[in-house]
């Protein structure tokens, strides 16, 4: 029981002040109703016991309800009032049902007040509070005003219709001694006043709540405005960054495609110059190959200009494109290149494919140009959702790796994909790139 009480108390405390006051208003009015009906009940019994019913009735303008009926009717109608109030506050109601609930509330309010001989009109405020609680500004204003007018009119009309004679409550208090009567009248007024105070407090809180909400919305608006401004700045910056990146990319692209082809051509031509005297036939063949490379390079440049995408990659799947590129490179540079595929991701994004293609391309170019290697191994391996690309050559390597344009670009590309690049220079040069490729990787045997 104690736990229940504390639970209720904590639940009560968790609610907003307006809701708490609204509930308090209900509780208070319920208590007052019980008090009044109890007063009528007790006094009626006392009057009958004291055998002064005749003189009591003589002072009354209307037939009073029997004590038991006062109790039953007032409590019952208060119950109906409460239930209608609850129904009225439900969110999932049609407009018709809500109006019906409101009507029920109004009628129950009148019956309850009538059962107490209109001695206590605080219930009107309760209904008005209920209306205010649900007040959302949309055509409820008229309804509110109408309901209030009807209630107060009925209350006043009823008391006016007595015309002469004493108000029943006064007739009831008249039974008591003067001193007691004074206390009773004071208590009655006090009860009404407390109700009015509670109601006013509730209204103030309600207005305050609305005000606070308005302020909150205003501050939210301001926040939104500043966020928007920042977003605009970011957007401008991002545009600039994108522009820069695109420029870099273009530079990379030119370097990668033209550089690669021209390096190949230069190397091939060097060979031709040697061969041309020794074996003109062989030189001729070599020159034909060089022409093909030049043509290919030209195509690459065109494509770069057009779409900035490797032609091989455009025509073929990545794996075929790499195989083709490796084969072609080996043929043009007379470098022995071996391609090992130990694992291959099932599906990759286009940009990832492009990066992989470029890394292999750059790696081989570097091996030839800087390392002067004769053999190179390109190895693909899958490890826990990462694709590891190792390009190992037997070239000179270097004591200190000074990242040139190619290496730097490679790193930049990998960074964009959250990958990494590592270089080792022992017995040649080893380049290791790791690219996350996500799910769907599968193991594959050696090629």
């Amino acid at each position: 029981m104690e736990i229940d009480f504390y639970l209720l108390l904590s639940k009560f405390r968790a609610k907003s002040l307006a809701v708490r006051l609204h509930q308090l208003l209900w509780l208070y009015n319920g208590l007052v109703l019980v008090l009044f009906s109890g007063f009528y009940y007790v006094t009626q019994h006392k009057i009958i016991e004291a055998m002064s019913a005749h003189s009591f009735l003589q002072a009354l303008p209307v037939l009073p309800l029997p004590a038991v009926e006062v109790l039953a009717l007032s409590w019952l109608s208060f119950g109906v009032l409460f239930i209608c109030g609850r129904i009225y506050h439900r969110q999932d109601l049609t407009l018709g049902t809500r109006y019906l609930a409101l009507l029920g509330e109004t009628i129950a309010c009148i019956v309850a007040m009538r059962s107490l001989s209109l001695a206590y009109d605080g219930l009107v405020l309760l209904v008005v509070a209920d209306l205010m609680h649900r007040y959302d500004g949309k055509n409820t204003g008229g309804l509110l005003l109408g309901a209030m007018l009807v209630l107060f009119f009925l209350a006043d009309y009823n008391s006016l219709s007595f015309q002469r004679g004493v108000e029943p409550f006064d007739a009831y208090t008249a039974y008591y001694k003067d001193s007691v009567r004074g206390v009773l009248v004071a208590v009655k007024r006090g009860l009404s006043s407390v109700n009015v105070v509670l109601f006013a407090l509730y209204l103030v809180t309600l207005v305050q709540n609305k005000h606070q909400e308005k302020e909150r919305i205003q501050s939210l608006n301001e926040q939104l405005e500043s966020a928007n401004e920042q977003l605009r700045i970011y957007a401008a910056e991002a545009e600039r960054t994108a522009e820069m990146r695109e420029r870099n990319r273009l530079a990379r692209e030119i370097h990668d495609t033209l550089g690669h082809t021209l390096t190949g051509l230069a190397a091939g031509m060097d060979a031709c110059m040697v061969l041309i005297e020794v074996a003109p036939q062989k030189a001729r063949e070599q020159l034909e190959k060089l022409r093909d490379v030049a043509k290919h390079g030209l195509k690459d440049v065109r494509r770069s200009v057009k779409k900035l995408r490797p032609d091989d990659l455009e025509r073929l799947p990545l794996r075929e494109a790499i195989t083709h590129m490796v084969k072609e490179y080996a043929e043009t540079t007379a470098m022995e290149v071996k391609l090992e595929v130990e694992g291959w991701p099932e599906a990759m994004r286009q940009d990832v494919e492009e990066v992989i293609y470029r890394i292999v391309q750059e790696g081989l170019t570097n091996a030839n140009r800087h390392g002067h290697a004769t053999k190179a191994v390109v190895n693909f391996r899958l490890e826990e959702g990462r694709l590891k690309i190792r390009i190992v050559d037997n070239g000179q390597g270097c004591k200190e790796t000074v990242p040139g344009f190619g290496l730097r670009h490679m790193r930049e590309r990998l960074d964009l994909l959250r990958g990494s690049l590592a270089c080792h220079s022992e017995n040649g040069f080893a380049l290791e790139a790791v690219i996350p490729v996500g799910q769907g990787a599968k193991e594959e045997t050696h090629d």
């Binding site: 009626q44 009057i47 009958i48 055998m51 019913a53 005749h54 009591f56 009735l57 003589q58 009354l60 303008p61 209307v62 037939l63 009073p64 309800l65 029997p66 004590a67 038991v68 009926e69």
Partner: protein, 433 residues
């Protein structure tokens, strides 16, 4: 949580159904109960030994016609206690379905709705014959033009004449059209000191008061609808003046009831109930030793006629009764049924309120056994002309006020006209408060 709520709701519905079922089962099986509120003793302050004889007769007849109805009443409530008893029942909401309405409480109970408005019942009931009632008696049951109660019995006020005394003085019995002047003349003639001891020992009247004088001088005292009084009007002034003149004949002697009973008074107003009670044997012997009494109409004032005020016992229906139809049948049984109304004449002190019943008794030469007979036809004619003086909530208080003021006028402490004007002002202020 929801489950518990739902279960609670179902349980409640089940309980309600059970209660409703029980209630309807009971209603279907139980015999209908009809309760009547009544008292023992007489409404007119005369001894009555017959108890609830008239009601018993009505119930017997009613239950014979409605075998599934039980009519009950609480017996033994005395007339003096009845208004309080009824008020308690009304306050507690347990008043009988049909009850006698105390004359002075009628207006209040009708106004507050404790007594049911019978207009719809009389309008629907083709067999209800309003004209069969004496108009004045029925008028007591009306308020603002609507009928709220039916008369059960009534008692007109008549003038008792000491035939023995008049015969001794050689004066003729006054006729039905006698006037204040005749009345005064006889009083003046009979007031004397018979034994010559210097003290008056024979008087003209006892208990004839200003209210009777005003009534027979063609006017009422109140307008109930506007809640004003007419104390300063000429017919009231004439009435009070007339009583003053009569009193002057007695040289300040207040005639006592004992002197009247001893036959030393020529005239005394009596209600029919008193007449009926004291006329037959053995009361006559006990009360008026050696004098022959008879009754005539009240003397007419200069602006009035020989009419009588009448007082009526009313029967009303509770506005909260569930058996309106049966209650209405029972009310008609008590107030209209010739047998029951006949029993009023036999067993009670009042006069039946149905003209035909009185006239039939007159044709049958009804009397109180033996030689004593009564001219019921004449009384019926008096009833036809009698006036209704509607009672209202503050009437008794106001009459007390008036009585005090007029006593002061009698005593010469206040001049007549001014005193009445002042009284009217005070009474009006009281009624309008």
């Amino acid at each position: 949580m929801m489950g518990r709520k739902q279960m609670g709701g179902h349980l409640l519905a089940l309980c309600l159904l059970a209660v409703l079922g029980l209630w309807s089962w009971q209603a279907g099986h139980a015999r209908t109960q009809l309760r009547v509120g009544t008292f023992v003793g007489s409404a007119w302050g005369v001894p009555n030994s017959e108890g609830h004889a008239v009601l018993e007769k009505a119930i017997e007849s009613f239950e014979a016609e409605h075998p599934d109805v039980d009519v009950t009443y609480v017996s033994g409530i005395r007339y003096e206690e009845y208004p309080e008893w009824l008020a308690e029942q009304i306050l507690a909401g347990t008043e009988p379905d049909v009850f006698l309405v105390p004359e002075y409480d009628f207006e209040a109970y009708a106004a507050m709705g404790a007594v049911r408005n019978l207009s719809d019942l009389t309008a629907r009931d083709q067999g209800f014959d309003e004209a069969g009632f004496y108009a004045a008696a029925l008028a007591y049951g009306r308020k603002d033009g609507s009928l709220y109660a039916l008369p059960v019995e009534c008692a007109p006020t008549l003038m008792f004449v000491n035939k023995t005394l008049l015969k001794r003085e050689g004066i003729e019995m006054p006729g039905d059209d006698w006037t204040w002047q005749d009345f005064y003349n006889i009083c003046a003639k009979v007031t004397k000191d018979g034994d010559g001891d210097g003290v008056l020992d024979q008087f003209g009247m006892y208990d004839y008061d200003w209210q009777l004088a005003v009534t027979t001088n063609g006017g009422g005292l109140f307008n109930a609808s506007t809640r004003t009084s007419y104390f300063a009007s000429p017919h009231v002034e004439q009435g009070v003046q007339f009583v003053m003149q009569l009193r002057k004949l007695q040289h300040g002697h207040e005639v006592t009831a004992r002197e009247a009973d001893q036959g030393k008074v020529a005239f005394r107003p009596f209600t029919f109930a008193q007449y009926r009670t004291y006329k037959p044997y053995p009361w006559r012997i006990k009360k008026f030793a050696g004098s022959e009494w008879d009754c005539v109409r009240l003397p007419a004032g200069p602006n009035g006629r020989n009419i009588s005020p009448v007082s009526t016992l009313l029967l009303g229906m509770s506005s909260r009764t569930t058996e309106t139809g049966l209650a209405w049948q029972l009310m008609k049984k008590i107030t209209i049924d010739p047998e029951v109304q006949g029993a009023v004449l036999e067993k009670s002190q009042g006069l039946p309120v149905r003209r035909e019943v009185v006239l039939k008794a007159a044709r049958d030469k009804w009397g109180w056994g033996g030689a004593e007979s009564v001219d019921l036809e004449a009384i019926s004619r008096i009833m036809d002309e009698a006036v209704c003086q509607p009672q209202f909530r503050d009437q008794r208080a106001v009459i007390t006020m008036a009585e005090n003021a007029i006593q002061e006028i009698y005593a010469g402490k206040k001049p007549l006209s001014m005193g009445l004007h002042k009284l009217q002002k005070e009474v009006n202020a009281y009624l309008q408060r």
